[in-house]
Each structure stands twice: as structure tokens, then as C-alpha cells.
Symmetry: C2
Subunit: 168 residues, 2 copies
DNA sequence: TCCACTGTTCAAAAAAACTTGAACAATTCC
DNA sequence: GGAATTGTTCAAGTTTTTTTGAACAGTGGA
């Protein structure tokens, strides 16, 4: 019934593997990460043995390019590590499964940079606001900018707490 | 120098308005929301008077459709409210500026639904795993599924805490 | 009732994001 | 060194998301 290249990888993945992969596809989408990353992490997560890049390409029916880039991102996030690679030339990967680490990696790579760049933009903003001549308007602008600063500050405070809370 | 329809709305927005709008464009992008929503919220945030849909269309140079849909989303998120609408037929909008409310709306609309659907998918997953005949494999699957459950549970616990922490 | 005005909807166009695949680099083994 | 294998890069193609704009619905005033 299924064509060989059907979208649901029914040829290569067991029913439970499909379900878990889809679970993570939805999951990473919420985080703003591409589908392929959810597929890769999902399959690693539900595999009892480490998998190679080629395993991922074959089982998920994605391109080598996607698999390579996806694994790189996952490594950067600390969501995947290389398994002990005995008597085989290729690299095998296994998932990091503790929440603290996963959340920490996500915060470090995807959130912190934005908070930091936001903070520096706020300084610019303050300088621009200072040029406003009308005092009433200037007061209003300063009030709003202060609010933004308090938001950023709280964000910076909450993230480590979050990580702590989630780390059991 | 600028063409009338240039991308940076230098004709219609003051320098500070541009900066704040860009600030929020970047901000909402992190949250996975479209650019126009950041533009709209940003302009409202830095305006001392409420603005109408037409004001937004003109100042931001976006279509009426974008402005209408963007305002709807922002209303749903609780990020924007209608201002007291005296002697004018059109509706004016002002931003909600307290972080607790903003975060709460985002969680309610964009996060909770995914957590809930995730939880129900996990039940499915458990049923599928139970069909696995090999006991070792089944044990592995159950262990991983339990881990997912613990993740979801923590997520469900952390969100209200987050909101509380941010609510001053 | 009809007109003028405000705002919504949604199909099509445009833009943005993701994936592919082929060329290439790097490494190992003989 | 040379062949075979593993993995990376990135321009082009594909898919997904967002925006546009024109038709339409709703409302108030004359």
C-alpha cells in the first residue's frame, strides 16, 4: 500500500519508533527547531544501541546532509554524544537523557544569546531616548525602556533557576 | 534617499520607534511568532497613546490583513487590550505590559496545548510498548517512556512556578 | 434604506526555513 | 600512494509559513 518513499517511514521503523519520532518532531517544533532534529533525537532516544549517521539516513529516510547537520546541532546542544566507538570506523551516537543537561544546552545555545544581544540593544535604546527633546515624551520612553530592562534582568535570573528546578 | 516603500519604515517611524519595533521583532521570533506580531506589539509598546488598526497599517506599512490577524493573536495572548474608545468608531489598542500576564498568556496559548497533547500521546505509546514481546526490549522501552512521562510532569509543574516567579 | 467606514477572511503571492544531493575533504586500510 | 569509506559543505530545490489584497460582513448615521 505504501510507496517505497512514503512519508511515514513504515518500512524502516517499528510502530513504537514511529510514534516516538513523531512525539519528538512535535516537541522540537515547539522549540523552533527543524523536523529532522526531532526525528534524529527521537530515534536515538528510543534505540537501545547507539546509531551511526548512516543508520539515521537509512531508517529515517533523510539525506546525509540533514543527518550531518542535525547531529551537529544536537551535539552543540549537548543533546547527543558520541558513543564508545569500538572496532568500527564510523561514529556512533547516543542521546543525552537527563533533563537538566538538555534544558541547559537549549538555554545556552538558543536563549542566552538573544538575551545578551537584547541587553546590548537596550543600551543603544537608552542613548536614542536621551535625544528626545520633549520632556513628557522622554519620561514616557524612559519608563518603557526601564520596563524592558527589568524584563531582561528577570529573564537572566530565571533561566538558571529553571535549570536548577529541572535538574531534579 | 529612501524609496517610498522602503523596508525600514524610516518615513513613518522615529528612530526610537524603529529600534523598539526591531527589538520586539527579534523577541517574538525567539518565541516562534511572526514578524508582524513583533512589529505591532513593539509599536504599541512604545506609543504613549493607543493606536487603531489603521494607525498600525500606516506606520508599519503592513497590510490590513496582517494587522487584523496580528491584533487577534495578540488579544488571544492577552498581550494587547482595547482602549476606552471615546467618540470614535474605530477601536484603539494598547499593550499589556506586565510580564506575568504576558508570560501567562504565552504559556496558556502556546505551551500548555503541546504539553497536554504530549501527555495523551504518551498513553498511546505505553500501549504500543506493551505489545513488544522481547522482555529486554520491552523493559528498555518502558524505561524510556517513563522518562518521557517524568519530563512532561515536570514541565507541567514548572510552568506555573515560572509564571509565579515572573509575576514580581 | 443607502452610504461610508471599520474590520475580517482567505486564496494566492511572497518570503523564510528546511532538505537534498553532489562535490569535496578527511581518514583508514592495503 | 591509491582505493574505499565516512562525514561535511553549500547552492539549488522543496516545503512551510507569512503576508498581501480584494471581496465581504457588520455597523452607525443621515
Amino acid at each position: 500500500m505504501d510507496s517505497p518513499a512514503s512519508k511515514t517511514q513504515s518500512e524502516n521503523l517499528s510502530s513504537i519508533q514511529q510514534q516516538v519520532v513523531n512525539f519528538f518532531v512535535d516537541g522540537v517544533r515547539v522549540l523552533g527547531l527543524p523536523r529532522s532534529i526531532g526525528e534524529i533525537y527521537g530515534l536515538l532516544f528510543i534505540s537501545s544501541e547507539p546509531l551511526s549517521l548512516d543508520d539515521l539516513v537509512q531508517k529515517l529516510e533523510i539525506s546525509k546532509g540533514s543527518a550531518s547537520q542535525g547531529l551537529r546541532t544536537l551535539k552543540t546542544l549537548g543533546a547527543v554524544r558520541e558513543a564508545n566507538n569500538i572496532n568500527d570506523r564510523r561514529t556512533y551516537y547516543e542521546p543525552a537523557t537527563d533533563l537538566k543537561r538538555l534544558v541547559g544546552g537549549f538555554i545556552r545555545e538558543q536563549i542566552r544569546p538573544h538575551i545578551d544581544s537584547g541587553k546590548s540593544k537596550l543600551q543603544q535604546l537608552q542613548e536614542t531616548a536621551a535625544l528626545t527633546t520633549d520632556p513628557t515624551e522622554r519620561a514616557f520612553l524612559n519608563e518603557r525602556i526601564e520596563r524592558l530592562e527589568s524584563w531582561m534582568k528577570r529573564g537572566g535570573q530565571v533561566l538558571p533557576m529553571l535549570q536548577k528546578i529541572l535538574g531534579q
